[in-house]
Symmetry: none
Subunit: 209 residues, 4 copies
């Protein structure tokens, strides 16, 4: 549990501060107790606040959860989009920084992966959760696929299948995340990155040494 220091904070704070604090506490709660084990009381306790305050800042538990998911989605999206926006990157380098972003311990740790899969697990039942991730997932799939297409064209990989490679990358991202979550002793950030880069090297040997 990563504590959210309630110490020096004044009794009352700006709503935006409280909202961030409560979302952070929600991530902790889901990671530790699971989605079905997460209660507003647990969130409030972790944030060092009263239960009533959660409903004051988020109108309902559902909204709190949706905004928590949204927060994670936006954070991840910003990470890889910022990375590929750096000037002077070749397509293969852009693909590389996308991979890096998804396995950078500073951006994504087991706690957050746990939250992602908590939501994935309920995704079918609660359409509301899908809204927050579909666009972002599709954006990344399309971006990866486009980069593969560029690389294939520029590098003369006549038989390459950029669409298939794009989909396989998505699967590798999610699949390594899951295995890092469930079997952390066998699956590490670095190994995941290495295997994905090896996969890309297999497809585009002249671009991924």
């Amino acid at each position: 549990m990563s504590a959210i220091a309630p110490d020096k904070t004044p009794r009352t704070a700006a709503p935006e501060v409280r909202r961030r604090q409560l979302i952070a506490a929600t991530i902790d709660a889901i990671a530790e107790d699971g989605l079905s084990g997460t209660t507003l009381a647990g969130v409030a306790r972790r944030a060092g606040l009263s239960t009533g305050l959660v409903n004051f800042h988020f109108r309902s538990k559902d909204i709190l959860l949706a905004e928590t998911l949204d927060h994670l989605a936006q954070e991840l999206r910003a990470a890889w989009r910022d990375a590929i926006a750096a000037p002077g990157l070749a397509p293969a380098q852009k693909l590389t920084v996308i991979v890096d972003a998804h396995f950078d311990p500073a951006i994504i740790d087991r706690r957050k992966i746990a939250v992602w899969f908590a939501f994935f697990g309920e995704t079918q039942a609660r359409a509301a959760y899908r809204r927050h991730t579909t666009d972002i997932d599709m954006e990344r799939l399309d971006a990866s696929t486009a980069l593969c297409r560029e690389i294939a064209l520029a590098g003369g990989y006549a038989s390459a299948d950029p669409e298939g490679i794009g989909r396989a990358l998505e699967a590798l991202f999610d699949g390594f995340w899951l295995n890092m979550l469930v079997y952390p002793h066998r699956f590490s950030h670095d190994d995941a990155k290495a295997q994905i880069m090896a996969y890309l090297a297999g497809n585009f040997p002249r671009d991924f040494g």
Copy 2:
């Protein structure tokens, strides 16, 4: 001897029949309502039985859920183990039938994938769930890795990394499952299989034509 005419569905049934019936209903319930939305009343309704009966055949909800997960795990395990047990299969062929088993619509459909991920989502919080999958996952990881090692040795792929390939296969299995679940229009059983086979062909070109 009682001469009471039996309905076609007898009011009482063998315990084992009821257990299977209730596990099937539980899978439906989880797939439709999510794990947190699954209630014993919902399971009973889907099974066409009374609520009290669930607790009669399974001592608690937790036990019902654990046995449901166990059922899925055993079913999947049996599928690929039976497949590779066929006589006269070369290592590459064994790896191929493992892949086939994981993307055979008769064995694994979206409903079951939904259940798998429902449990994955709670995996951190409920150690009980892990017990039922860890052994089975590790068994498959070890089997795949061993097969890769065999292929690498026999085929003279000096630079191959069987352990890494084994882990990547796990990730591809889980990752394609998740994407087939969430984005069924973009990810299909057949494409998943094709991409994984392409990945293997990239690593072992002389064994996976």
Copy 3:
């Protein structure tokens, strides 16, 4: 408070029995605590049952309240309709038994009047309550008016205003109820009846001696 004996009742009872029991307890609760002071816990306590059972037999508090109001409305409606259905009654006699029914202590006591006015007080805010009374009130208004018209015609009261008299009767019913509720020492069942009969005698002297 009229106790609902929980004594000899078996642990489990037919739903219809429990529903009646809970509606009776609800009437007591509203009469004693007011509508806003009525809680499911209070109803359950008065019925000698657990709180969960209320939601088991009535899906929500709103439904319980609506069915309670409906019960009172149907009871009152049945009382006066049964009374005027007796064979061989002249119109003036029918009007008389309608008045009697509304001030018969066996049918309407202060406890029930309290419940009526509890609902009237919320009538504007909760349209749901109106549905349960409008038809019944209008039916009575129309019946009274029709009887006045008959009497006026048959008795040759040329200047009588049956519609106005009908509305005044409605007002007298409700107004005496309210005053019997709030000022029981000044307003009694019998006096209310007497004043209403005097009002009718003033309008139709030859029919109401």
Copy 4:
């Protein structure tokens, strides 16, 4: 909803101004949301003020409600007492202006009637509410009765029952109010007045032409 303009009012105001403003907002709130649906937040919103301010000017919600009821009671009392205080009125004329006051749209509208009945509905449960109305109701009942007595004596109506007529008048006031509230399309201010005057004419034909 009758808006309480928060526009040009300065940020701070005399306590008495705020109190009147909050009572007006309370009347709106009760009329629209019912007594149980009335919250301090709703009152504050309607007054265009902050929630904390309500508790600042009225020490508790109960006090606010009691003072709101008191305000209505005093207003109505003042209306009819001022009316009969006009010089040179005969008893029958005084009774007439009392009736007029109770059905003058400028004094009593559906919004206020809704509030009256909201309180009546809770009257049994909350003795506090009774205090504010009992004296006023009894004062009016006694005044009406005394006037009837005067008329009966002066007019030689030997068989008249002033006490009964007084009680019937109370019932007609309250009963017509209720029906005007619930069935505004069938019951109007003017008709109510007309029927009550007809009732008085029936009892005192020589005084109420």
